[in-house]
Amino acid sequence: MSEKTNVTGDDAKPVSIWHRALDSDLFHSFIRKPVIVASAIITLAIFAMALFAPWLAPHTPFDPSSLNLMDGFTPPMTANQFSGNEYVLGTDNQGRDILSAIMYGTRISLFVGFAAVGLAALIGISLGLLAGYKGGWVDGLIMRIADVQLSFPAILLALLIFGVARSVLPPRVMDEATVWVLVVSIALSDWVQYARTVRSSTMSEKNKEYVQAARLFGVPAPLILLRHILPNVMGPVLVIGTIGLALAIILESTLSYLGVGIPPTQPSLGTLIRIGQDFLFSGEWWITLFPALTLLVLALSVNLLGDWLRDALNPRLR
C-alpha cells in the first residue's frame, strides 16, 4: 500500500507485554512456518538438554572413578559383552557413555558459543557505535582495523590467538583457561560483523531528528549512544547474534577437532568428534557419528532461526 493509514491511538488501552507479543507480526510470521517452529523446539530442547545435563544425563562422563574400561566400545543399544551394561548411544574407547558425553559436550560448546557471541557483540557494538557516531579519523581507524581483520580467515586468526596464548601462558594456567582462550579467539575473529552493521545503523540513526533533539537538550554523547541510538540498532545485532551463535559453535568444534580447543578431559562436541574419528574406520562409527549429528542439528536449527529472524525483521522482505 502506498498510503499508510494513521494510527489514532485514541482507543488504544495499555495492554500487557504478553498480549502484545502474541499479537505481533513477528509471532504470526513465526507460527505460520512449521520448519521454523520445529527449529525453535529443537533448539530449545538442545539448550535444555545441555543446561540440565547434570540431572538428565544417565552417567557422569568426566568422572574417572565412574568409568569402566571394560565398558569401552559398546555399540548403541546392545549389551556390553563383558559387563552386560547397555548404552543407548554406545560408549567410547574409555567406556564413556556417548549420550552423556554429548549432553555435557553440548553444554561446553553452547557455553563457548554464547560467551563468544556475547564478547564479540560487546566489542563490535561498542566500536561500531563509536565509529558511526564520531566519524572522521576514529571511524577510519576502527574500520581499517576491521578490514585488516576480515582479510584473515576466522579460523586462522583463532588458531593464531590460541597459539600465542599457549606460548605465553604457563601450561597450568592454560589448561584451566582453555575455554576462555577459545572464547576470546572466536570473539576476536567475529566482532567485525557487529561493528560494521552497528556502524552503518548508527550513521543513519544519528542524523535522525530524535538524536538531534537530544543533542539540543545537551545530553552528553555517551548517553545519546547508550539510551537513544543503541536500542534502535539492536534489531540487526540480534539477527547476526543468532547466526553468529551457530558459526561460533561450529568454529569451536573445528578448533577442538583440530586439537587446539577443549582438551579431551572435558570434551566438547568437536573434541568428541575428534576422539571418535580414530575409530571410524575400525567399525566404531557411533563414537563420532552421534556428536557430529548433534552438532549438525544444533547448527542447522539455530541458523534457520537466524535466517527467519532476518527476514521477519526486514520490512522490505515482509
Binding site: M1, S2, E3, K4, T5, N6, T8
Partner: protein, 325 residues
C-alpha cells in the same frame, strides 16, 4: 455516452489482512470525459493513490478489486489479464509518478527510453521515432531537445526530469494520463511550470488527465472537475470552481477553510477536530460523522450516497431533502 472516456462504478478495493478484510476503497464512482482533467484530492490514507493504481491495474498484492467495474472507452478493464493490461498501460493510459527518478531508468539515455516506448506502441521506424521523441521533449518544454535527448536522466534537474516523464507518458499517445502527485517532490517555482506543462501539453495531445494530489492549489490551477475523497470513499465531486468556492460536504468545507489564505488575513484557521479514522475503524453511517459539526441522527446509522446539489454531487444527508428524497 460517447464523450465519457473512463467510467468507474462502485469500485471496491480490499486488502486481506491478518485481522480481517481491510476495505481501502469503498464504492467509488466517477467518470472522466475525453480531454478532461479530473483532480482527485484527499489526505494521506484517503485512497486517492489507490484509485489511480487500481485503474491501471497496479495494485500491490494482497490488494485486489473486489467489486465494481472500470470501463475505458466502453470496454471493461478491471478484469483483464496481466498481459492484456500491459498492452493498455502506456498505449491507452499513461502514468506520471511523484518521483521522476524512479520512473526513469538511470542506465539508458532519454532517447533510448523514449524511442523504445514509442516503438512499443506505435509502428514507427527508428528515424521517425527519434523525430517523434524530439518533438515530445520540445512539447514538454525541454530547451535544445535535439541535443539533450542523448543525455542520461541524472544530467537533468528534478523539474526537467519530470518533464521527461510526462513526455514518456505521452509517447504511446494515450487517451488518459494518471498523474500521482506529479509535483509534490518539486519546489514551488518548478511546480508552477510542471503544472503548466501537464495542463497544456495534455490538452494539445488530446489526453484526459486524472490528477491525484493532496494540494488544493494544484487542483485549482489545473483541473476541470475535482473529486474529494475521505476514508476510502468519495465525499464530493463537481466542477472545480464550485467545489472550491461553494463546497457542499462539511468535510470539503472544513478542508477549504483549513488552508491558510493568501487573499485575506484570517486570525484563525478552521480546524476539523480529530483525524481521519483508520480503515479498520470506519464509523457506521457517514465516515465523517464523528468529526462533523452538522451531524444528526441519520448520519450515524445510514451511509449517504452521492446526492446532486446544484452542480456538485455530495455524499451528505444534509442535502437529502433538497434533492427531493
Amino acid at each position: 455516452m460517447a464523450d465519457t472516456l473512463l467510467s468507474v462504478k462502485d469500485l471496491v478495493v480490499e486488502f486481506p489482512q491478518r485481522r480481517g478484510l481491510l476495505r481501502a476503497l469503498d464504492q467509488i464512482s466517477f467518470d472522466i470525459k475525453r480531454g478532461e482533467i479530473l483532480g482527485v484530492v484527499g489526505e494521506s490514507g484517503a485512497g486517492k493513490s489507490l484509485t489511480g493504481a487500481s485503474i491501471i491495474g497496479l495494485l500491490e498484492p494482497p490488494g485486489r478489486v473486489s467489486g465494481g467495474t472500470i470501463e475505458l472507452d466502453g470496454q471493461r478493464i478491471d478484469n483483464l489479464s496481466t498481459a492484456e493490461m500491459r498492452k493498455i498501460r502506456g498505449r491507452k493510459i499513461g502514468m506520471v509518478f511523484q518521483d521522476p527518478l524512479t520512473s526513469l531508468n538511470p542506465i539508458f539515455t532519454i532517447a533510448e527510453q523514449l524511442i523504445e516506448t514509442i516503438q512499443t506502441h506505435l509502428k514507427l521506424s527508428d528515424k521517425e521515432a527519434r523525430k517523434q521523441a524530439i518533438k515530445l521533449l520540445d512539447d514538454v518544454g525541454i530547451p535544445a531537445a535535439s541535443q539533450r535527448i542523448d543525455d542520461y536522466p541524472h544530467q537533468f534537474s528534478g523539474g526537467m526530469r519530470q518533464r521527461v516523464v510526462i513526455a514518456l507518458a505521452l509517447a504511446g499517445e494515450p487517451e488518459l494520463i494518471i498523474a500521482d502527485e506529479p509535483t509534490t517532490a518539486l519546489d514551488v517555482s518548478v511546480q508552477a511550470q510542471i503544472i503548466d506543462v501537464l495542463k497544456n501539453t495534455c490538452k494539445e495531445h488530446g489526453a484526459a488527465v486524472m490528477l491525484v494530489t493532496h494540494d488544493m492549489g494544484v487542483i485549482a490551477e489545473t483541473c476541470d472537475r475535482v473529486a474529494v475523497m475521505y476514508a476510502g470513499r468519495l465525499a464530493e465531486i463537481g466542477p472545480v470552481r464550485e467545489v472550491i468556492k461553494h463546497p457542499k460536504h462539511p468535510y470539503t468545507i472544513g478542508l477549504m477553510g483549513s488552508i491558510p489564505s493568501l487573499a485575506h488575513q484570517v486570525e484563525r484557521l478552521v480546524q476539523i477536530p480529530g483525524s481521519m479514522p483508520r480503515l479498520d475503524a470506519i464509523p457506521e453511517g457517514c465516515a465523517f460523522n464523528p468529526r462533523c459539526n452538522r451531524v444528526f441522527d441519520r448520519c450515524r446509522t445510514e451511509r449517504p450516497d452521492l446526492i446532486a446539489v446544484e452542480e456538485n454531487l455530495a455524499a451528505c444527508w444534509l442535502h437529502a431533502k433538497e434533492a427531493g428524497a
